[in-house]
Symmetry: C2
Subunit: 143 residues, 2 copies
């Protein structure tokens, strides 16, 4: 179930906050974006449509639980959710709280920056509460 040379088969891809047999939720260490999480499929698959319907629904349920926890904790102006995988073709979802004053807003985080780095202390404080909220919402097993 692991693919040789796949970064997300060989390493967790971030600080693991929660996991089950299907997927893991990691916190992304990105100073411009406190609260940025990824939901990573445990097994190797390239595309969402390579998953069975039940597996896909269970994975998306975790993505929405993460979005809910990110909204509750971070109170973002918008949430960005994306499954790209051009560099690492192993199914994983980015869940990114966005704010009008963040480094790239209103552009996607992958675009050229719109302003200098600068994150309010309050936002970093909220992010510190996120892991506990994620674990509470996701529970001991799959939602």
């Amino acid at each position: 179930m692991k693919a040789a040379g796949c970064e997300l088969c060989e390493a967790p891809g971030g600080a693991v906050v929660w996991q089950n047999d299907l997927c893991r939720v990691v916190r992304v260490d990105e100073p411009d974006y406190p609260g940025f999480c990824r939901v990573i499929l445990q097994r190797h698959a390239r595309e969402m449509t390579d998953l069975g319907e039940a597996e896909r629904a269970a994975l998306m349920a975790v993505v929405w639980a993460v979005e809910g926890a990110v909204r509750e904790t971070m109170r973002p102006d918008k949430v960005n959710v994306a499954s790209l995988g051009n560099m690492t073709p192993h199914v994983h979802w980015h869940v990114i709280p966005r704010f009008r004053d963040d480094r790239h807003f209103p552009a996607p985080v992958w675009a050229a920056p719109a302003r200098e780095h600068g994150v309010p202390a309050e936002r970093e404080a909220h992010a510190r509460e996120l892991s506990a909220v994620l674990r509470r919402r996701l529970g001991p097993e799959a939602p």
Copy 2:
């Protein structure tokens, strides 16, 4: 159910290929990316977690049907799927076939271009078949 001043409440947002009460599928006119589609919620909502569970599942079923049609027709190296909405906070999904030789690969399409515009004629031909495949997969009503 419409929000005043919302671009996706006031206009289709592209050439509509298929629609039902829940959502519409539009073809995006982006010369660098033949086969680029969007799935747009008909009613106004900002975030996926503002939708009820059944509504969210039904919308995602359309997104996956579109991904399937895009894969069948375009044979991309990777599919990118994203719900951002920073500019237009009305739930919509980008479904983008990506190729190793496309303008931004392996970066997201929102990043700085990696190379000049250039799309093989074959890819444009495949994209012309996409609408029929989408309609066949989505059927006369919601999947």
